[in-house]
């Protein structure tokens, strides 16, 4: 243990602790900006500077390790003045249009300006001016709001190992950019959106689709159906000040009904279909020893990644569409026919914790009879904005239930939103279908958890299958290399692009650096998902009566001809960069 004094308080912390962490232990809240725990610990922005007795200059507390006998001043007049100067300089090159900024009220820079009592910007001068990059279907970059903390760069490079963005130019002209300064649309970005989650300001956000939804809701000829992904319900409440990991399913459904959607369905049901299809596909491949291991395909950022980076591994990818696409396709076919609604009039909105889904829904493969399966994707954050816009007092809403007949879902469908969930849901159904016996224990805890790669051996009857769960694209890359090099001794792989799965998706409520450093957001949201599963009446996808009915009435057998046509697609090699296309 190391003893030191911070602002006259005696502190004892383990060796290797940073001054910032040590200060937080005694409730001294040193401001930070570029710091993102374990991801961006670089001391670049200099907001967290402190004075250490005996040192010449100030030290960045986010990287300065504690030393025995150290005497630290976090708030001496000299530090206050220097820190104020730093913030002033950052603000001097920032478009300070807070009122019209997407991050108004949830901006770390804005919060610092308030905390440091900034009432004017002393060192104002020229500002860098950049064009906004809104070419991609998923993500918008507004460099005018960028403060060069490079949290996005660290996330893209270190967490996701994609490297779509990097620091370019130098000095005052420094900026975060892509290869050739091209739009994110045309480079190796997977649209995972983790950069948005890392950004302290409004420099990165999803491409908005709210106005299109409002327009359709006002259109009397449109039959507007909404579906919500499993992970949305455990995070939406955070946008209304509720505790992280609060399950707000009932309030969310009520809010969606109040917003005027004609039908409110649950993507969890779509997830159950995915399990039936993916499970059937897996059983077939297992029996025929065909392209094993099979890899899940419900994460569109992940799909974009494999298509661009590991096309040789594509035969391993399940041909299943993702749950909301399956569900959208069923709404426009089965549901439309059954209720005698012209599918052309149906407008399917998916509320997703994801921004890659915005890209996915526009893929040409995601069409049925010339109609897109899903017409619009909005994020959890966008839904919260709509609810606020519509004067709905969310926290005081009564609960209501999803609409029938496609509103019933299982616990297996619910846990799709968390890493390991698809695997667990699949194992429940695959085991019972293969053995013909009811599982004694349906929790597969060996595939749960927060580790980036989890390998397990599962007994199914007398046989054993080896499975892998990988979360985050750097871990996905590791698995891809194993498969490519023929080292994969496993049969089934679940991959989600976002570390932690959909609950931590790029469309989820953004948590500040401080919350991320002090609260296990992933665990809280995951716990909420598993609680939903535990409390569900039905916890296995193949037992969902809605599924049974639709397969019987319409689709036929899982994996059958019609199911294949509607619920499956094909994934193919796609160029990593589209820059050459632009030149031609």
């Amino acid at each position: 243990m190391v003893n030191l004094v911070i602002d006259n308080k005696q502190v004892t912390v383990p060796e290797g602790t940073t001054v910032l962490e040590a200060a937080r232990k005694v409730n001294i809240d040193i401001p930070t900006l570029c710091f993102l725990k374990e991801i961006n610990e670089v001391g670049d922005c200099r907001m967290c500077i402190v004075e250490i007795e005996g040192r010449r200059g100030f030290c960045a507390s986010c990287i300065q390790k504690v030393e025995e006998g150290m005497v630290v001043h976090t708030n001496s007049p000299a530090v206050i003045s220097a820190r104020r100067t730093i913030l002033d300089l950052i603000l001097s090159n920032h478009h300070r249009d807070c009122l019209t900024c997407v991050r108004n009220g949830n901006c770390e820079l804005q919060a610092l300006a308030e905390k440091l009592n900034i009432t004017d910007v002393r060192y104002d001068g020229v500002k860098n001016e950049y064009e906004i990059d809104d070419k991609s279907p998923s993500i918008v970059r507004d460099f005018n709001k960028c403060i060069l903390c490079r949290r996005c760069v660290a996330t893209c490079n270190k967490v996701q190992n994609i490297g779509a963005i990097s620091a370019c130019q130098r000095g005052f002209a420094s900026c975060v950019s892509t290869v050739g300064n091209e739009s994110l649309n045309d480079v190796n970005c997977t649209f995972c959106g983790q950069c948005i989650e890392s950004c302290p300001t409004g420099a990165l956000h999803e491409k908005y689709s709210i106005n299109e939804v409002w327009e359709k809701l006002r259109d009397e000829n449109a039959y507007v159906v909404v579906q919500t992904a499993p992970a949305v319900r455990v995070a939406l409440g955070e946008e209304f000040g509720m505790e992280i990991g609060t399950n707000v399913t009932g309030k969310m459904v009520t809010a969606l009904k109040n917003l005027g959607f004609d039908k409110v369905f649950d993507t969890n049901t779509g997830a159950d279909f995915t399990i039936m299809e993916e499970g059937t596909e897996f059983i077939k491949r297992l029996k025929e020893k065909d392209n094993l291991p099979m890899i899940t395909s419900c994460s569109p950022g992940w799909v974009k990644f494999i298509e661009a980076n590991y096309p040789e591994n594509l035969p391993h990818l399940s041909s299943c569409k993702s749950p909301h696409e399956m569900f959208g396709a069923l709404i426009k076919t089965y549901y439309a026919a059954k209720n005698k609604i012209n599918p052309e009039k149906i407008y399917v909105v998916s509320v997703m914790p994801c921004i890659a889904k915005k890209y996915e829904r526009q893929r040409e493969e995601m069409k049925e009879n010339g109609l897109y399966d899903v017409d619009c994707v909005i994020t959890t954050r966008e839904l919260a904005r709509m609810i606020k816009q519509a004067n709905i007092d969310f926290t005081n809403l009564e609960d209501s239930s999803f609409d029938d007949p496609m509103g019933e879902a299982t616990g297996a469908g619910a846990i799709f939103g968390v890493t390991g969930g698809v695997m667990e849901a699949a194992l429940r159904s695959v085991s019972e279908i293969l053995t013909g016996k009811e599982l004694e224990k349906i929790d597969f805890k060996e595939v749960r958890g927060q580790k980036g790669i989890r390998k397990a051996t599962i007994e199914i009857g007398k046989d054993e299958i080896k499975v892998v769960v990988a979360t985050g694209l750097s871990n996905a890359r590791e698995i891809m290399e194993e498969i490519k090099q023929g080292k994969a001794d496993y049969q089934f792989v679940e991959i989600m692009a976002c570390p932690g799965g959909c609950i931590m998706g790029g469309g989820q409520p953004i948590k500040s650096s401080k919350i991320r450093a002090t609260v296990n957001v992933q665990k809280k949201r995951a716990d909420a998902m598993y609680t939903i599963d535990e409390k569900s009446k039905i916890r296995k996808s193949h037992e969902n009566p809605v599924l049974k009915k639709i397969y019987k009435e319409y689709l036929g057998e899982p994996g059958g001809h019609l199911a294949h046509e509607i619920l499956h697609t094909h994934y193919e090699a796609k160029p990593k960069y589209r820059i050459l296309d632009n030149l031609n």
Binding site: V42, R46, A60, T85, Y123, R170
Partner: protein, 392 residues
Amino acid sequence: MDRSILEGDPHSVLESMIIAGFAIGANQGYIYVRAEYPIAVQRFSVAIKQAREYGLLGKNIFGTNFSFDVEVRLGAGAFVCGEETALLESIEGKRGQPRIKPPYPANAGLWGKPTLINNVETYANITRIILNGADWYSSIGTEGSKGTKVFALGGNVVNVGLVEVPMGTTLREIVYDIGGGIPNGRDFKAAQTGGPSGGCIPKEHLDTPIDYESLKQIGSMMGSGGLIIMDDTKCMVNLAKFYLSFTVDESCGKCTPCRIGTKRMLELLEKISGGEGTLEDVEKLEELANSIPKTAICGLGQSAPNPVLSTFKYFREEYLEHVQEKVCKTGECKALAKIQIHEDKCKGCGMCKRNCPVEAISGEPGKIHHIDETKCIKCGTCISVCPFHAIG
């Protein structure tokens, strides 16, 4: 100066690197040279080739267990890559920007391995010290700064070029004895040592011995050994602006104070030099100049305000003239230049008239000349050509 060593005597550096490798147990060395110095690169590469042929580089040198080789790595000319950790990043093929210290290169340097990193001039001294002994080397120089130092002498001095002097030689000796004094009968105003990150030394410190400690004491530094002499036609506000514009360009952009702070300082200097400055601007400039050295990550940012700080220290009145009287006496800040011919000094030689690019000067030979202010573009040519210092 380092370039001249690499071009003139590459083996002195190479041999010392081999010795250093032997001393610390390293078997790979790198020399980092800017690509803009092709002759240095070529000659050093030839030296490596020769050393390999002689068996001085490579596996099991002279039949011993010691193996050592050297590779040339080219830099793209970023100033910040002179900072040791930025240099290491650049050798690794990454963006040239400094690392956070600690860890220091001696613990975790190139590719994360303990690394000895030294300047070319340092290595060039090693073989001499080994051959002649430490006592010989210590006999040259001062108590705290041993040996000699090579300066790149330039600016308003008669003899420009590289000069090697024992540490402790006074600035006066360098300027007047070796440099041959100030040309055109002008007066010495200041000397900038240490390049753009250094500071200026005014007339009153001409007798300061040039060594590490003394330079630091008077607000300058040794740096790379640049030594620029300025005569009394030079404006110190303009000088600070010039040097700062260099560091602003060369900042890597990693930390806030250097990336934005130096830019704001330059803007303030431009404002003052452009005749728009106020006392508050001078105040702001000083605040930033005092704050940035304490908050920037690396040496580049920490020393960037030095030209401002040292001109503030020795020539504050010039800043005040610029903002209060709206005058730049040297005429270098054109917006504030008041160029006039002093009638008591003008001999009517006509030099100014002949050299004026816009024909703003009139006058008969042998009679007092006059400047038409409506035509004058304040280029300052007349000031510098007047043999009688009659214009200013």
